[in-house]
Amino acid sequence: MLRHLTLGAVLLGATVLGAQAQDLRIALQSDADVLDPDQSRTFVGRIVYTALCDKLVDITPELELIGQLATEWSWNEDQTQLTMQLREGVTFHDGTPFNAEAVAYNIERSQTLEESRRKSEVASITGTEVLGEYEIRFDLAQPDATLLAQLADRAGMMISPTAAQEAGADFGSNPVCSGPFAFDNRVAQDRIVLTRFADYWNADEINFDSVTYLPIPDNTVRLANLQSGDVHIVDRVSATDLEQAKADPNVQVASAVSLGYQGITVNVGNGERANTPLGQDARIRRALSLSIDREALNQVVFNGAFAAGNQPFPPNSPWFDQDHPIPARDVEAAKALLAEAGYPDGLTIQIQAPNSTEPQQVMQVVQAMAAEAGITIEIVSKEFATMLQDQTAGDYTASQVGWSGRVDPDGNIHQFVTTDGGINDSGFSDPKVDELLNAARTTNDTAERRDLYNQARDILMEQSPLVYLYHQTWIWGLDDAISGFTPYPDGMIRLEGVSLQE
């Protein structure tokens, strides 16, 4: 009651000021890093970009590609040329017109800016050709099935060439894009404020005058802000708070299974510490996997809100290999495998995990389950940055780590298990897997790709360098006056069609 009074008073104040300024307040789990799509590395940064920077293409909730700044595209015969038609009448926030020249500039910046983190994502583009004011062609050395999906993320976000040329690598302190909202101001660790861009091409779908992103790291406090009416949308309600959120009449909840996964990465070939029974013998890794009841893990730690998993893709993904369903727990089989490997009385292994609540709880459940199969797990808790460094350097035996997930299936496997993969911390190397995964990148035929990934899955299941455990579910908390919100598996908060009824 008091909350509504306060809200009422605030609104009265707002109307007295003359404008019906509708400000949407969104609470994020952490603060974004630098707001330059080419340099950005955080997940929450991408949430801010959803309102700030339009991309060439976007995805539907079913993970299909649709045009945003591009309207149509087509490949040539041998999949080495992608021709795109661009949307006309679009301007950047500073008035610079959006056209093919701007796209060409953006791709070049992503590839050549020293600080760019997008280089590997657009590495397959060898050149661009401006065919007309609103037509551009991307030339590739060989087919790249992942390219369009990359252009649906940061690599495809178009920034104003005028602003970028002026600011160089400092573009992030005053980003200029072409999204529905323009950058207004930012106070580090406090807020990011965007205001409505009047000339947005899809302005009809936008119902707010401003958006304020507030980083609130503590889960309880973030939800409390929603319950007290201080924010309208909350990013990542924790699974344990789900019941409380559902029970609150002022709050609605939306969810979607994420594209990513959480699991245990085993050091099988990254330096000396790979010389452990676990690292050298796939049977022990399979035994570990068999000793875990993934559904129970989900129930215990996440109240059933997340999804059990045994592959990089969740069971509801079109890329999930149906030939390898999530195994039920089989302690006898696990013990048999251990005996076969020469450890009938079990063995001890070390697994490092970040010292935050969720990973610790997950590992404790896994520890309890594995113990029954004879595998004694020593949990080594490390602070995240330390753990990451040790993992990269190979100074670990196994690590509880995950991946936020990418739209294209390649993004969830290739760099982790191919021999020269950029994030292959496990050191796994199998020439057949390399061959299959590289081939899957170079064809646009979905059925063919699926077959290739499934073949690779057979080998990866047998070798199990990564033991997948579960897939996080994105859970958003919304004020009950919010309507039109659509949950997306990539965890992004898209504001088209979202409105706040008072």
């Binding site: 600080e115 983190r117 660790q189 406090d190 503590d218 309880t220 406090v221 319950q227 007290s228």
Partner: protein
């Protein structure tokens, strides 16, 4: 007096230098590579190497330190790795927030702690004394973060009286700025009030036994005048010392409270900087805090002179 202050400033300089060397070296001992921590999920080796060069991480540590010091002497405290913002700018953004929180917390602490301490001393041994001590003990024992979350759940969610968290600058909206800071200031203030109360009590007890208080009573002055004008004023010296030290601590940043209430002050900044291995930011904050502490101590000493005429003759 001026000579005294001058001497103190001279002593302060080597102190600050030593502190900065100490913290600089300690940071290097921390496991975890700053560039890798910054990299997050995407770790392209080429870009990482470039960034290492750019931020000077390939230089030997003494060289890095000297570069930092020469930067400081020119007013340049370096760049935050995470946000690309100059550290000086970050500190200037956060300082007013921290000072506002510190001042409000101090007001709560003094308003609660000092009167309780006086009452407790004057009514020593009675129910009031025990009650005040109990409250003080609770204030010291209850963890900040628990009290903070409980208050948010009760005051913001249940009663809807105050905003749950966040910060509004006084320039933007003074009223809302105060209401947003009320709970965090209260949480911080109660912990300090407890300490302040105990010290006020013991200072008062010491003074109430003295000759001049007996004389004042013998002269027939009313009890309230005796306590407040004669006893309390003389008890002020240790209390003022403590307040200066506590304020110095507050400037260092109330880490937990700022984390819970999402107040963008020094505490939150330094915690995030350590986790992100943002060395330049940590150094900058340590420098700022050390200077702040030294100034507070200086002010406390100056206050002695003001309060105690006997010291002025020295």
């Amino acid at each position: 007096m001026l000579a005294f202050i001058g001497r103190r400033i001279l002593v302060a300089i080597p102190t600050i230098v030593l502190i900065s060397i100490f913290v600089f070296s300690l940071q290097q001992l921390l496991p975890g590579d700053p560039i890798l921590a910054m990299a997050g999920e995407e770790r392209d080796p080429e870009t990482i190497e470039y960034l290492r060069e750019k931020y000077g991480f390939n230089d030997p540590i003494p060289v890095q330190y000297v570069k930092w010091v020469s930067g400081v002497l020119q007013g340049d405290l370096g760049i935050s790795l995470r946000s690309n913002q100059p550290v000086t700018e970050l500190l200037l953004q956060k300082l007013p927030v921290t000072i506002q929180l510190a001042v409000m917390a101090m007001i709560f602490a003094i308003a609660i702690g000092v009167p309780m301490g006086i009452v407790s001393a004057v009514k020593k041994g009675t129910v009031l004394d025990y009650a005040a001590n109990l409250i003080a003990l609770s204030g010291l024992s209850i963890p900040n973060f628990w009290l903070g979350i409980m208050l948010i759940l009760l005051v913001s969610v249940k009663w809807g009286l105050l905003p749950a968290s966040g910060y509004v600058s006084p320039a933007e909206d003074f009223g809302r700025s105060i209401t947003t800071m009320l709970m965090p200031a209260f949480v911080l203030g109660t912990a300090l009030a407890a300490t302040l109360m105990r010290h006020t009590r013991s200072a008062m007890l010491g003074v109430l036994k003295s000759d001049y208080v007996r004389t004042a009573r013998a002269k027939g002055l009313n009890e309230r005048r005796v306590i407040l004008k004669h006893a309390f004023r003389n008890a002020l010296v240790p209390i003022v010392t403590l307040m200066a030290l506590l304020f110095g601590e507050l400037i260092a940043g109330a880490v937990l409270t700022e984390q819970i209430f999402t107040i963008p002050g020094f505490g939150k900044l330094v915690v995030d900087a350590v986790f992100n291995r943002d060395y330049a930011v940590v150094q900058g904050i340590v420098l700022c805090t050390a200077v702040g502490f030294i100034i507070m101590n200086l002010l406390a000493d100056a206050a002695y002179f003001a309060l105690n005429p006997r010291l002025r003759k020295q």
